[in-house]
Structures are given as C-alpha cells and as structure tokens.
C-alpha cells in the first residue's frame, strides 16, 4: 500500500473529476499516497473562482447521464471538491498544477483553490511518481 497512486487529471467535467476524487479518497482511506497532476481543463476547474461551478459532463453522459448524476447529487453525494477535501484531511494527498497549463490558462498560484498544493513541471511529477502507476483521466 506504500506505492503511490499517480493521477494525471486532464478533463474538467464534473463526472470525471468526481471519479478521480473517489479514487483519491479510496486510496487515502487505505493510507496509500496519491500524487495528482492537474493539466488543461482539470486545472481550470480548480481555479478558486470556478471550483464550485457547473463543469458539465463528458459527452458520453448524454441526457440520461445528466439525470442520473443530478439524482445522485440530490441523494447527498458530495461535490467532487468536497470529496477531495475529505481525502486531503486523511493525509498523503499532494495536488500539483502543471506549469505549462498554468501558462496556457494565464494563471497565478493565487488564482487556485487551496486544494492545490503547488505548481510543478512534468519532470518533477515523473520523478515523484517513481515506479508507481500513472493513470490519466
């Protein structure tokens, strides 16, 4: 359980971010470290001004998927940002913004939600990942 889970988050839709948050929280509950690298539209979703907004769903969700996701939220499923917060409370979670994506989106560290621990390049992410698996979402 000591080997870290390394997640590259690219997509910024609420369903994919929720799936990533669930994987992260599950790993945190097991004491498995998780390193998260935020790129492109996932990073955009972690902007402080944007984190609670409606980020839509992946195209394959369709209208039926929208209804299902909304029903789960009404039943009390926490929003993805809250799931990440709870995972971080358990410890062992490091969330880093991709520096290239920071440039792309013209962001400064102060623009990001406090869930984000820092900014790094892809080299640092790879080195920190070590031999652990890398999952792209």
């Amino acid at each position: 359980m000591d080997e870290s889970l390394n997640l590259v988050l690219f997509s910024g839709t609420d369903d994919k971010l929720q799936a990533a948050a669930v994987l992260t929280a599950g790993a945190a509950a097991l004491g498995k470290p998780v390193k998260i690298f935020l790129q492109y539209w996932a990073l955009d979703a972690f902007r402080a001004a944007n984190v609670g907004a409606d980020h839509g769903l992946a195209p394959e969700a369709g209208a039926a998927g929208r209804l299902a996701v909304d029903a789960l939220a009404r039943a009390g499923q926490a929003p993805w940002a809250e799931t990440f917060r709870q995972a971080k409370e358990l410890g062992g979670i490091d969330i880093e913004a991709c520096s290239l994506s920071m440039d792309l989106l013209k962001l400064e560290p102060s623009d990001l939600d406090p869930l984000v621990d820092g900014v790094e390049g892809v080299t640092a992410f790879y080195l920190n990942a070590g031999d652990g698996q890398i999952v792209f979402i």
């Binding site: 097991l30 039943a75 499923q77």
Partner: protein
Amino acid sequence: MPTLAISHTIDARGLSCPMPIVKTAQVCRVVPAGSVVELLATDQGSTKDVSAWCRATGNELLDQTVDGSVYRFLIRRN
C-alpha cells in the same frame, strides 16, 4: 456473540462510495486502539470494501450484519 462496548457509531446511511470508508478511516485515526466502532451504511459496495479496508489497515472486522438495505459493521481499531 457477547455484547461489545461501542465507542463510536458512524452513520453513513445514504452516503455513496467511498464516503463510508473515508468516514471510518477518519474515526479510526482518532479513537484509541482497542475501541469498537460501529458503521451503518447503505452503499452496496460496503460489504466488500469494509472487509478489504480492515485487512489492509490491520483493523479487525468483528461482525457484519444486514437489516433490509442497511449494512452494519463492528470494527475493532487495532
């Protein structure tokens, strides 16, 4: 089985995966070793998740029962 002194009850009924386990992990971090924690959950994955979590974290699943749609687990925090 003999009656156990439950030191903490986690009501995770209605919460979806992985929140029952996240809440269990949060509680087991703060209760003293030897405490018995009761978890109530309705998530269908919780039967397999709780036993796997206990195995992986060295805690002991003392008992698990189901009453209608509610799963009840007794966990000894080791």
